[in-house]
Symmetry: C2
Subunit: 410 residues, 2 copies
């Protein structure tokens, strides 16, 4: 089974397996109103980190103003009845916190933006964060383009992560199956379909070549790795395996001596998307209020991931930190203690974060979802939920069910 | 200190106190895409629970369609440049997942709505939840009126709750101060300002009347309770204390034999707002994947809270459950094991969930924020963050600072 990213959506399949396996979960927060959106190449407000809450207040405010104006002026009368219009404007006043008709439904800011001085005791009624950028600048900043992320079926709250890390799932699976049934450190060299079974030749942890035979083989390697294996399954299989497109993915962990993002910036979990080559910065969803903590300093794909992975770690780090200080200031460098980076596309036996298919309706994908004699393929890459545990679990279950039915029918 | 509701916003003041006091926190999730919005009196879609994710997909889809149409047709040319228009439409296509210009920017649904059959292995590409209600019905359903809740400064993610319950905070404070310095079970009867101090007369836990004298007294009782105390602080003080308007608030806890909202409906934390007299149903933010769990079956204010509190518990329960089954079905009744309800406005010494001030700039509020001789007032009700721990902490700090400065200057 390929491992998906280190968080789980509310996939009931994954959650049921975790419960059955005794994998302890904790809430993963990929949304946080106090995290930033950072665009340094935007047409306006470039280089100014904007809190999610502020970005939403301004974008929702201005689009509410615009739509209320257009509705009120009759521009949408072909689409809206008088009653629709009245209800729509009532919604927009709530959604955007805009002024009334007499003030042209103007958006002029709201405490949803946040405060420069928080309200408190007695006469401290707070100072709302200002000034409010113009409509044109807010649109040109592009911050609104980030909002759809959290509407995605896979990304909406609530999410989970296993306590102790994502590998808690394979460890729990190994325990449930019995460690003695698993051969670790075995590098597959060849898969052979036979008239009445299949066999795998591999190099064991001690470097010796061994062959094992079974009624069936389930190959759960990434397809581009499997494609290079010696096999007798036919050239169509090789071509189909190569048809999957590996996605380069990189991450860097930055361990800090303090949790300055919590104490100084009030960011507890969540993500700061950027238009830099970091792609995103992720704040930890656990260990809140602790003494130390680890950020994900980049989590990027494609060309950015390749560019960073071409560098030695020290240069990856220097480059990532130089971007981070633009958002979080000098402490991003001065509080740093340790770091670790990974480029999945350069990791042996994995060679990608995940794969994409140019088509999941064409002959290649179809071919791999059928057994090649006594050899089956499984993994998130043979699902419609690629890169998530849900895809790996459902694929595994599908293949096991297929084999079960085949044996029962024989 | 009055206790705020059982959750904390990202108030750095509250979080700093919790850290200093060693109060362990866990994430509180008051947003969840899988929770419902339930409107039974709406002009359309009445009585059909709608998932938050579905409601957002439809509302954001349709308002994006409308605004893109109006923008494209030039209805907003007085407010938007050609470049603004182009960028705005690009945003709306992302925000609403709408079709392109050739298709009139139509919203026709998206997988953001959720699935009736989830995608999975091999050829299971999922069935997107349908059918998509009409624009007119979505607007008339009023679901969009619920969205602004989570944009509020106090309500946006991320939030926390103390592990074990909100009273972990007063217990931690008591421990830090020293339990031996606190007299429990003491009912205040009288407060007297004296030329060189103040004294409090109270009935102790054993029923004996006692008087204690100190340099200063800080009265942290709710104002309407304090107003009935015998005192020599003047009639203006009594009038000012009575000026605060107590808010009736009720809650019911429903303990279930199973966590059916998780296993059957995939709701892990979050809130279902309703237009019934329940106001809201809250799913627990902790104990996920456990064997049993407790919902908040209503959390309501004002007239609803008064109506329920007039009933004995068994009738409160029956009424609350009869509403809940309309959203969640029979298991809302059949899986129920225990229950408990509280009406804060009927709870001795508390008498409200919190108070509101008709004005926080008038003479009454001002008067109570000054000492009455050697008697000070403190509590969330003397802050601009009423009903939250932040208000209580900042008020306490303010009063302690005032006394400190007074003593140092003397």
């Amino acid at each position: 089974m390929n491992a998906g990213p280190a968080r789980l959506p509310q996939s009931h399949v994954t959650l049921e397996y975790c419960r059955e396996l005794g994998v302890e979960l904790q809430v993963f927060t990929n949304q946080n109103a106090n995290a930033y959106i950072y665009h340094e190449s935007s047409a306006a407000l470039a280089g100014k980190p904007m809190r999610w809450r502020t970005a939403k207040a301004d974008v929702y405010g201005y689009i509410s103003e615009l739509l209320a104006k257009a509705t009120d002026q009759g521009a949408l009368d072909a689409r809206l009845t008088a009653q629709d219009k009245e209800r729509l404007i009532a919604f927009l006043q709530s959604f955007g916190a805009i002024k009334g008709k007499a003030d042209g439904y103007a958006y002029t800011g709201t405490d949803r933006r946040g405060y420069s001085v928080e309200p408190g005791a007695a006469f401290d009624d707070g100072t709302v964060l200002g000034p409010v950028p113009t409509l044109s600048d807010v649109i040109a900043s592009g911050v609104g383009q980030r909002f759809a992320f959290e509407f995605g079926y896979d990304q909406a709250m609530l999410m989970f992560q296993p306590v102790g890390g994502m590998d808690a799932i394979p460890y729990a699976l190994a325990k449930a199956i019995g460690q003695n049934r698993i051969t670790y450190g075995a590098k597959a060299l060849e898969v052979k379909d036979l008239p009445d079974g299949a066999e795998v030749t591999y190099k064991d942890a001690g470097g010796r070549t061994r062959t094992r035979r079974a009624d069936f083989v389930v190959a759960a390697m990434p397809p581009m790795v499997m494609a290079r294996l010696k096999h007798n399954l036919g050239t169509d299989i090789t071509a189909a395996l190569k048809y999957a497109v590996p996605t380069p993915v990189g991450k860097i962990g930055l361990e800090y001596r303090s949790r300055w993002w919590e104490t100084d910036e009030h960011i507890y979990g969540g993500i700061t998307p950027t238009d830099t080559d970091l792609a995103t910065i992720w704040y930890p969803s656990y260990g809140h209020q602790g003494r130390r903590g680890t950020l994900i300093g980049y989590y990027h794909f494609g060309a950015d991931a390749v560019a960073y992975s071409d560098l030695p770690h020290a240069q990856r780090l220097a480059r990532a930190v130089s971007r981070g200080v633009k958002i979080h200031g000098d402490k991003y460098r001065t509080e740093l203690d340790h770091s670790f980076s990974v480029a999945w596309h350069r990791t042996p036996h994995i060679e990608a974060g995940w794969v994409d298919w140019p088509s999941q309706t064409g002959p290649e994908y179809k071919l791999l979802n059928r057994p090649a004699g006594h050899v089956y393929f499984a993994g998130d890459w043979l699902s419609h939920v690629i890169a998530w545990q849900h895809g790996a679990f459902t694929s595994a279950r599908k293949v096991v069910t297929d084999i079960h039915e085949r044996v029962m029918a024989a």
